[in-house]
């Protein structure tokens, strides 16, 4: 089975959980021998892992015909793409896009991030997708998140192949309810046009059904999983101070993640005991507000903001922690608690997180219940048996959550969609 996937991020250059999920899912699916995945991203860097799928860079796909020779193409794109593919794609340009700004190869430039002109970039992505869809041979189209829904719809219209979309988040999660009408329109259109909708949690599925008015029969929950840790990460020696406990929050400091609840809970805990430190790693638009709040509560000596963490730094921080906390107000899934549990860190998550649906060996509280949260932090730091239980059992539990199984579930949905589509 051949799948054409549209995505926005792919490791190692990732900005959020979408890239991690895309990688894990494709890798898990690739374990099925007859699975052949082509993954489109706006801007490959050339160091992506291509051992189990093909990657097509949208910024390397021509939309305007340029007469360039093999040497030149090879020189420009050789690191990330076979020149022959460039020529094949060039044969499938379907309209005159000279009015767009294109480079010397007739390609549109992409930032591959979330720039201010995101809508324009999404539109360009969809234009390029038309070329890719005309050139590639595939059985089914799979679009990851709203940024690529227009591309998926375009590909479906061009080829008549079924479209499956993967909802990693909705705008209701990102905005605590104040949705952006443009984003909503793109999301709703994608869902209406899709032949099947996969959601990363039951929570998201309900949002899709209730807020986007989708038929429950075409919406399925496909929970995410987590990739095993590499040996390099396993070998990181945790730096721990035996006299102090560390409670960590790791993620974007934005409204969606509920950072203020963490600060409030921390101040309650610190009223009682002083041997606990709190870390809020990451950055975001609420960071300054949080620093101010911490100062207001008078706990700045015990509350730290180390900033954005990259690559292995994340695991160094996790391994040095005694408690990981994710008080998200609305989290479609949330892979980071699973990563913390892989590092044998006891975890507290909000009940409003999608991953709460598949995790059992962690503490769940309501995001607004700062007293329960404070209580949970205090008891993990105080009662050794609870700490040990969550550490060991949590690790055992999370090691059973594998992308391979998710791959089989997705495959089952593909088969079902194809059967009905004929």
């Amino acid at each position: 089975m051949k799948v054409l996937m549209f995505g926005w991020e792919f490791p190692p250059h990732i900005l959020g959980g979408l890239g991690t999920a895309s990688y894990g899912l494709t890798k898990g699916m690739a374990l099925q021998e007859d699975m052949d995945i082509t993954f489109c991203i706006p801007k490959p860097w050339g160091d992506e892992d291509k051992s189990f799928l093909k990657i097509i860079g949208m910024n390397n796909t021509p939309v305007v015909w340029r007469n360039v020779n093999w040497e030149y193409v090879n020189n420009r794109l050789g690191s990330s793409m076979n020149p022959q593919l460039y020529y094949d794609l060039r044969d499938h340009i379907y309209a005159d896009f000279n009015y767009l700004y294109t480079n010397d190869l007739g390609c549109i430039e992409f930032s591959g991030r979330y720039p201010d002109n995101l809508y324009e970039e999404i539109n360009n992505y969809s234009i390029v997708a038309g070329v890719v869809a005309r050139q590639q041979q595939f059985d089914i189209i799979h679009s990851h998140d709203w940024l690529t829904y227009p591309a998926g719809i375009h590909a479906k219209q061009v080829t008549g192949k079924p479209l499956v979309i993967h909802v990693h988040a909705t705008d209701f999660d990102r905005s605590r309810g104040n949705v952006n009408p443009t984003v909503y329109a793109i999301e709703k259109n994608g869902m209406d046009q899709a032949d099947h909708i996969m959601c990363v949690s039951e929570l998201t599925r309900q949002t899709v059904i209730d807020k986007y008015f989708q038929d429950p029969r075409k919406v399925t929950t496909v929970h995410n999983a987590v990739s095993p840790l590499s040996q390099e990460i396993m070998d990181i020696v945790p730096k721990k101070n035996p006299k102090e406990k560390v409670v960590t929050f790791l993620g974007r400091i934005t409204m969606q993640k509920g950072p203020e609840y963490f600060v409030e809970a921390a101040s309650m805990v610190l009223k009682r005991t002083r041997n606990i430190r709190f870390v809020m790693a990451g950055n975001g638009d609420m960071m300054n507000e949080m620093i101010r709040l911490v100062a207001e509560r008078g706990i700045a000596d015990r509350f730290h903001f180390p900033g954005f963490m990259k690559g292995n730094q994340v695991y160094e921080v996790l391994k040095a922690s005694d408690v990981y906390i994710m008080p998200s107000v609305s989290e479609p899934f949330g892979i980071s608690p699973l990563e913390a549990m892989q590092c044998s860190v006891p975890t507290i998550i909000s009940k409003q997180s999608g991953c709460a649906e598949i995790l059992d060996k962690c503490i769940k509280t309501d995001y607004w219940d700062i007293q329960a949260m404070a209580d949970a932090i205090y008891s993990i730091c105080t009662y050794q048996s609870l700490y040990e239980y969550l550490r060991d059992e949590g690790k055992k539990e999370v090691d059973q959550i594998k992308w391979e199984n998710v791959g089989y579930k997705v495959r089952g949905i593909y088969d079902e969609v194809l059967k009905q589509y004929r």
């Binding site: 009682r272 503490i363 209580d375 008891s379 048996s385 609870l386």
Partner: protein, 476 residues
């Protein structure tokens, strides 16, 4: 003659309230009064009152042939007295029929039998006395919380003078043996054991209203036929369950009480009688001893103590609780003793289980095992602080015990001396008018004898009392 021994447990815990760690040291009241009142009233209304009324009818209608046994935990009795006195009235009515036996059990419905013998004996005796006070008969047969039993527990129970004990007919203990005979404890041959037939008990208590069960709907004649078709020499059929099975687990709409009411007539037709545990224990003979090295219970498929002590959380909470057992035993603070009863209830540990049994478990106010653990440990933290603040921590328990004994004995001694003093003062007061009268009559200046008698007596008594003190010290 084949006989059925029907026994019901009455137990309701005192619900703990949501207790955060910042309450430690500030709030010493741990209970959710609203939940306690609401739950006991619900159980009383939906189950205890209709079920007990049915049992009373059955004893009256059967002309004394229907018999039943009950046990009530101390904490449940306290709650019933406060919130549902109607149930106590019904228990009295049932007691008046003389067809009902009350059994002894630990006051707190706790697990003290597994860890602290002294504490266990104390609460069993307290429960027995309470039952005797209420119903006029001292229990002769014992049943432990959740029918927990092991050889060691059996020996302790026998040493307290009980004739029999109820426990589970666990498959892995019995092996090829049948629960339909009476056995005895391997360490104390005088203690007879009645083993629960879990199949027949669960048919009523667990499956009765389950419409997917192959035997649904179950009728009394079918049920009695099952018992009748057992091999001839199997004489004792022990059917034990919670009283709340009638009405709560099996709703009244399933006609479970009608089923129950039909049992005596059906049994009579087949020549099967009903007996109380004491009758069986005194009349029948034990066929063999039973070895139970590790504790068994009537819960879960494993029939062991893992529902309460299966994971590290439960064991930590349990060990922390009983780490102060001796101190609580020594102290005489009423509120601490009361909290001790409520905190011991095994349900508190059950809430922390992480076992997957397939049967839904109600965790009360708790979301999860961790939530239950956190809440309980916070309360326990406060409780232990209170216990430790009673006496200095650096004195070990043995030393503390002897000091307390000395203080108590000295107190008694002082009281004795005071009494003595008053007695003598009264005597001298009486003697004085007599003496003065004599003085008037006889030669003045001879008053000394009366005085000297009194002064001689006092030191003599004191010496005896002192001797007593030292003897008591040695005893303890």
């Amino acid at each position: 003659m084949r006989t059925i021994c029907l026994y019901f447990e009455i137990h309701q815990i005192i619900h703990l309230k949501r207790y955060r760690f910042f309450d430690i040291g500030k709030d010493h009241y741990y209970y959710d009064d609203y939940a306690n009142e609401a739950s006991i009233n619900e159980v009383a209304e939906r189950s205890y009152i209709p079920a007990l009324s049915a049992l009373i009818d059955m004893t009256k209608n059967s002309g004394g042939t229907f018999k039943v046994a009950l046990s009530i935990s101390g904490v449940a009795l306290e709650q019933l007295e406060i919130h549902a006195p109607d149930v106590i009235d019904l228990l009295h009515q049932l007691n008046d029929t003389d067809c009902c036996e009350f059994l002894a059990e630990p006051y707190s419905h706790g697990l003290s039998s597994l860890v602290n013998e002294e504490c266990f004996k104390e609460e069993v005796m307290r429960q027995s006395n309470k039952i005797k006070q209420l119903f006029g008969k001292a229990p002769k047969v014992f049943r432990n919380s959740s029918l927990i039993y092991s050889d060691g527990i059996g020996a302790t129970v026998a040493s307290m003078g009980f004739k029999g004990m109820l426990t589970e007919g666990a498959k892995y203990i019995l092996g090829w043996k049948s629960p339909h005979y009476m056995y005895h404890c391997s360490q104390a041959p005088n203690l007879k054991l009645l083993l629960r037939d879990f199949k027949l008990s669960d048919d009523i208590g667990l499956r009765f209203s389950n419409s997917e069960w192959s035997e649904y709907p179950l009728f009394a004649d079918t049920y009695i036929n099952w018992i009748d078709s057992l091999p001839q020499d199997e004489q004792v059929i022990n059917i034990f369950m919670e009283l709340s099975a009638l009405g709560i687990f099996q709703p009244l709409s399933s006609n479970i009480l009608e089923f129950l009411k039909a049992l005596p007539a059906c049994a009579k037709a087949k020549g099967i009688t009903f007996s109380t545990p004491t009758e069986i224990v005194t009349k029948s003979k034990s066929v063999s001893s039973i070895d139970v090295p590790d504790p068994i219970s009537w819960v879960n498929e494993e029939r062991d103590v893992t529902p309460w002590l299966g994971n590290v959380l439960q064991r930590e909470a349990f060990n922390k609780l009983y780490s102060v057992a001796e101190r609580v035993y020594l102290c005489d603070d009423r509120r601490i003793k009361q909290d001790w009863d409520y905190l011991q209830a095994s349900n508190n540990f059950r809430f922390m289980t992480t076992k997957h049994t397939g049967i839904a478990l109600s965790r009360g106010i708790y979301d999860s095992a961790y939530d239950a653990f956190t809440n309980y440990m916070n309360i326990l933290g406060d409780f232990i602080n209170r216990v430790n603040s009673l006496y200095p921590e650096d004195i070990d328990n043995e030393e503390l015990n002897s000091l307390l004994t000395t203080i108590r004995n000295q107190g008694e001694e002082l009281a004795d001396l005071h009494r003595e003093l008053e007695h003598l003062q009264a005597k001298t007061a009486k003697a004085k008018p007599a003496v003065s009268a004599a003085q008037e009559a006889a030669v003045p200046g001879k008053t000394t004898p009366a005085k000297s008698v009194s002064t001689e007596k006092v030191p003599g008594k004191k010496a005896v009392a002192m001797k007593k003190t030292s003897e008591k010290k040695v005893d303890k």
